[in-house]
Symmetry: C2
Subunit: 94 residues, 2 copies
Protein backbone atom coordinates (compact mmCIF):
# COMPACT_ATOMS: atom_id res chain seq x y z
CA UNK A 1 0.00 0.00 0.00
CA UNK A 2 1.11 3.53 -0.80
CA UNK A 3 -0.10 6.52 1.19
CA UNK A 4 0.01 10.09 -0.09
CA UNK A 5 -0.32 13.25 1.95
CA UNK A 6 -0.63 16.35 -0.22
CA UNK A 7 -0.91 19.49 1.89
CA UNK A 8 -2.07 22.74 0.31
CA UNK A 9 -2.19 26.26 1.68
CA UNK A 10 -4.97 28.05 -0.20
CA UNK A 11 -4.76 31.65 -1.36
CA UNK A 12 -7.03 34.07 0.56
CA UNK A 13 -10.60 33.97 -0.79
CA UNK A 14 -9.97 30.88 -2.93
CA UNK A 15 -11.09 28.11 -0.53
CA UNK A 16 -14.61 27.82 -1.96
CA UNK A 17 -13.31 27.62 -5.53
CA UNK A 18 -10.74 25.03 -4.49
CA UNK A 19 -13.43 22.94 -2.80
CA UNK A 20 -15.72 23.20 -5.82
CA UNK A 21 -12.97 22.02 -8.19
CA UNK A 22 -11.99 19.10 -5.97
CA UNK A 23 -15.49 17.60 -5.93
CA UNK A 24 -15.16 16.19 -9.45
CA UNK A 25 -11.53 15.16 -8.85
CA UNK A 26 -12.53 13.20 -5.73
CA UNK A 27 -15.58 11.60 -7.38
CA UNK A 28 -13.62 10.44 -10.44
CA UNK A 29 -10.51 9.39 -8.52
CA UNK A 30 -12.47 7.16 -6.18
CA UNK A 31 -13.58 5.19 -9.25
CA UNK A 32 -9.98 4.49 -10.27
CA UNK A 33 -8.48 1.00 -10.01
CA UNK A 34 -6.37 0.57 -6.89
CA UNK A 35 -7.77 3.61 -5.10
CA UNK A 36 -8.38 2.56 -1.49
CA UNK A 37 -8.98 6.03 -0.08
CA UNK A 38 -9.01 9.55 -1.47
CA UNK A 39 -10.16 12.17 1.03
CA UNK A 40 -9.85 15.92 1.38
CA UNK A 41 -9.23 17.17 4.90
CA UNK A 42 -9.44 20.64 6.41
CA UNK A 43 -7.06 21.64 9.18
CA UNK A 44 -9.09 22.11 12.35
CA UNK A 45 -7.28 25.35 13.21
CA UNK A 46 -6.55 26.77 9.78
CA UNK A 47 -9.35 26.57 7.20
CA UNK A 48 -6.88 27.62 4.49
CA UNK A 49 -5.00 24.33 4.86
CA UNK A 50 -6.63 21.62 2.74
CA UNK A 51 -4.88 18.28 2.48
CA UNK A 52 -5.51 15.19 0.39
CA UNK A 53 -4.91 11.91 2.16
CA UNK A 54 -4.81 9.04 -0.30
CA UNK A 55 -4.26 5.29 -0.15
CA UNK A 56 -3.38 3.23 -3.22
CA UNK A 57 -2.88 -0.51 -3.58
CA UNK A 58 0.42 -0.04 -5.42
CA UNK A 59 2.76 2.65 -6.69
CA UNK A 60 1.68 1.63 -10.18
CA UNK A 61 -1.93 2.56 -9.43
CA UNK A 62 -0.76 5.93 -8.13
CA UNK A 63 1.26 6.52 -11.29
CA UNK A 64 -1.80 5.66 -13.40
CA UNK A 65 -3.70 8.25 -11.36
CA UNK A 66 -1.22 10.93 -12.39
CA UNK A 67 -2.09 10.11 -16.03
CA UNK A 68 -5.88 10.12 -15.53
CA UNK A 69 -7.74 12.76 -17.62
CA UNK A 70 -9.51 14.30 -14.62
CA UNK A 71 -6.16 14.56 -12.76
CA UNK A 72 -4.42 16.24 -15.71
CA UNK A 73 -7.31 18.67 -16.21
CA UNK A 74 -8.15 19.63 -12.61
CA UNK A 75 -4.89 19.50 -10.63
CA UNK A 76 -3.22 22.34 -12.58
CA UNK A 77 -6.30 24.50 -11.89
CA UNK A 78 -5.96 23.70 -8.17
CA UNK A 79 -2.35 24.78 -8.39
CA UNK A 80 -3.44 28.28 -9.37
CA UNK A 81 -5.35 28.55 -6.07
CA UNK A 82 -2.57 27.55 -3.71
CA UNK A 83 0.21 29.52 -2.07
CA UNK A 84 3.59 28.06 -2.94
CA UNK A 85 4.16 24.41 -3.67
CA UNK A 86 1.93 21.59 -2.48
CA UNK A 87 3.81 19.68 0.24
CA UNK A 88 3.62 16.11 -1.05
CA UNK A 89 4.88 13.05 0.75
CA UNK A 90 4.50 9.56 -0.69
CA UNK A 91 4.72 7.01 2.08
CA UNK A 92 5.05 3.29 2.61
CA UNK A 93 3.54 1.86 5.78
CA UNK A 94 5.98 0.32 8.26
CA UNK B 1 -13.76 11.56 12.71
CA UNK B 2 -10.49 13.35 13.40
CA UNK B 3 -7.37 12.69 11.35
CA UNK B 4 -3.86 13.54 12.54
CA UNK B 5 -0.74 13.76 10.42
CA UNK B 6 2.41 14.12 12.53
CA UNK B 7 5.49 14.41 10.35
CA UNK B 8 8.95 13.94 11.86
CA UNK B 9 12.40 14.48 10.39
CA UNK B 10 14.73 12.14 12.28
CA UNK B 11 18.24 13.09 13.33
CA UNK B 12 21.02 11.27 11.42
CA UNK B 13 21.65 7.80 12.84
CA UNK B 14 18.53 7.86 15.03
CA UNK B 15 15.99 6.16 12.74
CA UNK B 16 16.44 2.69 14.25
CA UNK B 17 16.08 4.01 17.79
CA UNK B 18 12.99 6.02 16.77
CA UNK B 19 11.42 2.93 15.19
CA UNK B 20 12.19 0.80 18.25
CA UNK B 21 10.55 3.34 20.58
CA UNK B 22 7.44 3.66 18.41
CA UNK B 23 6.66 -0.05 18.50
CA UNK B 24 5.28 0.08 22.06
CA UNK B 25 3.55 3.42 21.40
CA UNK B 26 1.76 1.98 18.36
CA UNK B 27 0.82 -1.27 20.10
CA UNK B 28 -0.64 0.50 23.16
CA UNK B 29 -2.31 3.30 21.19
CA UNK B 30 -4.17 0.88 18.95
CA UNK B 31 -5.83 -0.51 22.11
CA UNK B 32 -7.19 2.92 23.07
CA UNK B 33 -10.88 3.71 22.88
CA UNK B 34 -11.80 5.61 19.71
CA UNK B 35 -8.60 4.77 17.88
CA UNK B 36 -9.57 3.88 14.31
CA UNK B 37 -6.08 3.93 12.84
CA UNK B 38 -2.58 4.61 14.13
CA UNK B 39 0.14 3.94 11.59
CA UNK B 40 3.75 4.96 11.13
CA UNK B 41 4.77 5.73 7.57
CA UNK B 42 8.20 6.16 5.97
CA UNK B 43 8.65 8.61 3.12
CA UNK B 44 9.45 6.63 -0.02
CA UNK B 45 12.25 9.02 -1.00
CA UNK B 46 13.57 10.09 2.38
CA UNK B 47 13.99 7.37 5.02
CA UNK B 48 14.58 10.08 7.65
CA UNK B 49 10.98 11.27 7.33
CA UNK B 50 8.68 9.18 9.55
CA UNK B 51 5.08 10.25 9.87
CA UNK B 52 2.22 9.10 12.05
CA UNK B 53 -1.16 9.00 10.36
CA UNK B 54 -3.94 8.61 12.87
CA UNK B 55 -7.73 8.42 12.82
CA UNK B 56 -9.86 8.95 15.91
CA UNK B 57 -13.62 8.73 16.35
CA UNK B 58 -13.76 12.10 18.10
CA UNK B 59 -11.56 14.94 19.26
CA UNK B 60 -12.28 13.78 22.80
CA UNK B 61 -10.68 10.40 22.11
CA UNK B 62 -7.62 12.18 20.70
CA UNK B 63 -7.37 14.35 23.80
CA UNK B 64 -7.58 11.23 26.00
CA UNK B 65 -4.71 9.82 23.93
CA UNK B 66 -2.53 12.80 24.84
CA UNK B 67 -3.09 11.88 28.52
CA UNK B 68 -2.35 8.15 28.10
CA UNK B 69 0.65 6.92 30.17
CA UNK B 70 2.43 5.40 27.14
CA UNK B 71 2.00 8.67 25.22
CA UNK B 72 3.38 10.78 28.08
CA UNK B 73 6.33 8.43 28.58
CA UNK B 74 7.35 7.70 24.98
CA UNK B 75 6.55 10.82 22.92
CA UNK B 76 9.06 13.06 24.78
CA UNK B 77 11.76 10.46 24.08
CA UNK B 78 10.83 10.53 20.39
CA UNK B 79 11.18 14.30 20.50
CA UNK B 80 14.87 13.92 21.41
CA UNK B 81 15.42 12.01 18.15
CA UNK B 82 13.85 14.49 15.75
CA UNK B 83 15.19 17.56 14.00
CA UNK B 84 13.13 20.61 14.86
CA UNK B 85 9.45 20.48 15.66
CA UNK B 86 7.10 17.69 14.59
CA UNK B 87 4.80 19.12 11.89
CA UNK B 88 1.37 18.26 13.28
CA UNK B 89 -1.92 18.86 11.53
CA UNK B 90 -5.24 17.85 13.05
CA UNK B 91 -7.85 17.51 10.35
CA UNK B 92 -11.56 17.08 9.93
CA UNK B 93 -12.74 15.24 6.81
CA UNK B 94 -14.76 17.28 4.31
Amino acid sequence: MVVVVAKNIIKPGKVEEFLRLTQELIRETRKEKGCIEYSLMRDSERSDILTFIEKWHTEGHLKDHFEAPHFKRIVPMLGDLTQGETEINIYEEL
